[in-house]
Amino acid sequence: MGDSMWRDKFRVLKDNMNKLHMKLIMFFVLLVCAMMIIEAYRYSSLEELVHETENVFTSSENIISVTSKVDMVRENYENFLASKDDKDKKRFNRSKSNLEDALEILNLKGKYSDSNIKNVNLYNMVSYYIELLDEIINGKKKVTNAGIKEAAKLYQYIDEYANEIMGEQLQVDAKEYNNLKEKINKNNIRASILSAMALIISILCIILFSVGITTPIKKLSEKTRKIAEGNYNLSVYDDDASGEVGQLYDDFNVMAKSIRDNVDEIKRSRMLEQALAREKINNLNMQKALKEAEFSSLQAMVNPHFLFNTINIGSQLAMLNDDDKTCEYLQNAAELFRYNLNGLDYNTSLDKEIENVDHYITVMQTRYGDSIEYSKRFDHNINIENIILPKMTLQPLVEFLYINSVNSLEEGGMIKILINQNEKNYIVDILSGGNEIEQKIINGVMLDDSLLDEQTKNELNNSVEGKEYYMSILGVKNAVKRLRLLYERKDVVYIRRDDDINYITIKIPLDVQIDEV
């Protein structure tokens, strides 16, 4: 239990340490500690050096102090010897006391070393000297020449010894000074190197930190820009990212996904709306075309039922009168009207359209004799019952060709219907010989009124050929419009001339499934 608690705590600590702000805090704390330690080192080195410097001069100071006091004692001693005055004796005693105090500093009490042994000897010598003079001055010893000589000799020894010590001390001091200088230089160099190292390490750390922080931000910024440009399929992944950066990446990915989803949703909605709108427009256009066709049909027919019935009666009368030609004519005309009567707002099959064309041609041939050479040819493998067209498509096209190319010929002309198939389409060609159809008429048929110039429109509307001519253009235009609407293609119908033959070609795609309604 205890172990797992510590493990959990350690895991939490480790996770915390991965965070950027913890790393930053740690770095700065370490840096400050390192700088403080460097300064502490400098300070302690300087302190030690100052202390050593003090030591260098202290020993010399001590010797000088002692020797000067020895001189004072000697002077007072000699003065007393000369004067025998109590004042001189007191002065001697005072100076002796001062000397003893000063001497204590040389008393090492058995702690000998090579550096201080001479001080010990001097201490003993001066102590001996003090004792000797004291004995002489204070009457403990008789003043003799030998005694005075001894005192003088001892003073000389002390002086020589002190000078020797001072001389050696000077050499030692010089050496110490050089050592100190070297030490100071070394310490300065060490501290400078360490400070430089700390500085370089700090700069590197700062660079790494700033790169570590700015690089993911730049990455995110770039990704954000791409999203703004419309590329929504983006995400940011970095296995090494942890802490705040990792959190930022995760949040960005969530945001990008959300945007992506929303945009997809919007696109889908728009596509649907566009499709609906297109459908609506198609329907409206279809209705409009139907209305136009109906209108033109209605214009052409006063009372279609009355006419149909009338024609039928006429046909029966002709049959009763054995007028086969008239009967045939009237029957075909009736068929034409009947086909028309059933409305234009539905589709039909190609075979029915061709049948309608046959009726129309029969009527026309009856009217105009053999001036129309009509033929049909199609591949019997093609199932024309399955080919769907808008109702009243072929007949207007045939009528258009007749009026614009065959009708004006005295000898008449050919009208042919060919049905073929290629890899992608059924090809229904309506051919006519005769004159070339004027381009303005072709434009009037193939192009939308908004694309025609005013002159062309007026010419078409005010055609000298009369209303029939105008109506045929209107009918073809309507048929073309309806074909385009049904197959949603502009190139479903086109008019061309090739080898003095006029062609109206209908291309019906094989893969379009349209029901006969």
């Binding site: 370490l30 330690i37 080192y41 201080n116 010598m125």
Partner: protein, 341 residues
């Protein structure tokens, strides 16, 4: 941050920590050094040892080393002072007395000066060791040295053995070269001769020829050579001086070259670098030396005993004698020989 930069960051932080540790270590080291400097040892006694500045460097160093070894063992402080001559030594002794030094060791060969100094020191109850020639003695003074008599007595044993090995005939000579440049040398030589003649085997007594040569420094080579030329029958050459030992070995090796060992044997005294090489090269068969280290050691030992008022047994302080020759593996071997008076 990438894995690489994380690693680098960790490395840099560790560097900061290591650097700080180095700093702390340097600070502590400096403090320890400083602390070490300040510590001084407490000693029981303070002795002064006066050494001749003219003493051969090796011998001097050995003597001082012996004193220092004894000082470590006995817990006393040794102050080594170099002196130029006996008068200088007298002054040093005077100063030592005023400095209340606990004891002195010196080598004063001048009898009158030695006596004077000894009396002075004795007056203040200061123990003295004279590791020079015997002089005035009392309860505070010990003489530690090898007498010329003792030296020659030790060396003559090797001479006798060598004479027997060489099967000397009556005409063959045992040449003893003695340095005699002063009266002092003369006195020493007399004692050497006394010891030698007493110690030599009676069979070879008449083979011995003593040659006193008054030569020092640059003169030694030419004068020795002229003497050596006179005695073509010399089969064993004995020298009691280190310089003579060296020069004689050079002269004879130049004369006889590879045949030297067949022709004669040199037995010498004085353990310096040249003589050591001579032994190694086979020019000198046996070299004798008083172990100066033992003189130094015993001097301090004696001073401590005198200071403690322990009974002083002179035999205890006899210095060691050294015998240097090649062993069977042709390596220079130094043997310590205890000389009992």
């Amino acid at each position: 941050m990438s894995e690489m930069s994380n690693k680098v960051m960790r490395g840099l932080m560790i560097s900061i920590i290591v650097m700080s540790a180095i700093m702390v270590g340097l600070s502590i080291n400096t403090s320890i050094e400083a602390f070490d400097k300040k510590e001084e040892q407490e000693f029981k006694y303070h002795f002064q040892v006066i050494v001749d500045k003219s003493m051969e460097k090796n011998n001097r160093d050995e003597l001082i080393q012996g004193c220092k070894d004894a000082s470590k063992d006995k817990g006393v402080y040794i102050e080594v002072i170099e002196a130029i001559d006996d008068e200088h030594k007298a002054e040093i002794v005077d100063k030592a007395i005023y400095s209340k030094v606990d004891g002195l060791a010196y080598n004063v060969s001048n009898q009158s000066i030695a006596t004077k100094l000894a009396k002075k020191a004795s007056a203040v109850d200061m123990p003295i060791v004279n590791y020079g020639i015997s002089a005035y003695t009392d309860k505070n003074i010990v003489n530690i040295h090898m007498t010329p008599y003792a030296i020659s007595s030790m060396m003559v044993k090797s001479v006798s053995i060598e004479a027997k090995e060489r099967k000397l005939s009556k005409k063959d000579l045992i040449l003893v070269l003695l340095k005699e440049c002063s009266t002092k040398d003369k006195n020493i030589n007399n004692r050497l001769i006394k010891g030698f003649s007493k110690g030599i085997s009676s069979k070879y007594k008449n083979n011995v020829k003593y040659i006193r040569v008054d030569a020092e420094g640059y003169d030694v080579s030419s004068k020795l050579k002229s003497q050596i030329e006179k005695y073509k029958k010399a089969r064993i050459v004995v020298c009691f001086d280190d310089e003579y030992t060296n020069v004689a070995s050079v002269i004879y090796s130049n004369k006889y070259k590879k045949k030297m060992s067949k022709k004669l044997t040199i037995i010498g005294y004085g353990f310096n670098k040249n003589n050591q090489d001579n032994v190694k090269d086979g020019k000198v068969k046996t070299l004798f030396n008083v172990k100066n280290q033992s003189i130094g050691y015993h001097s301090v030992e004696a001073l401590v005993d005198m200071k403690k008022k322990t009974d002083v047994d002179i035999k205890k302080y006899m210095p060691l004698f050294q015998k240097i020759e090649l062993n069977k593996e042709n390596e220079v071997e130094v043997k310590d020989i205890l000389v009992v008076k």
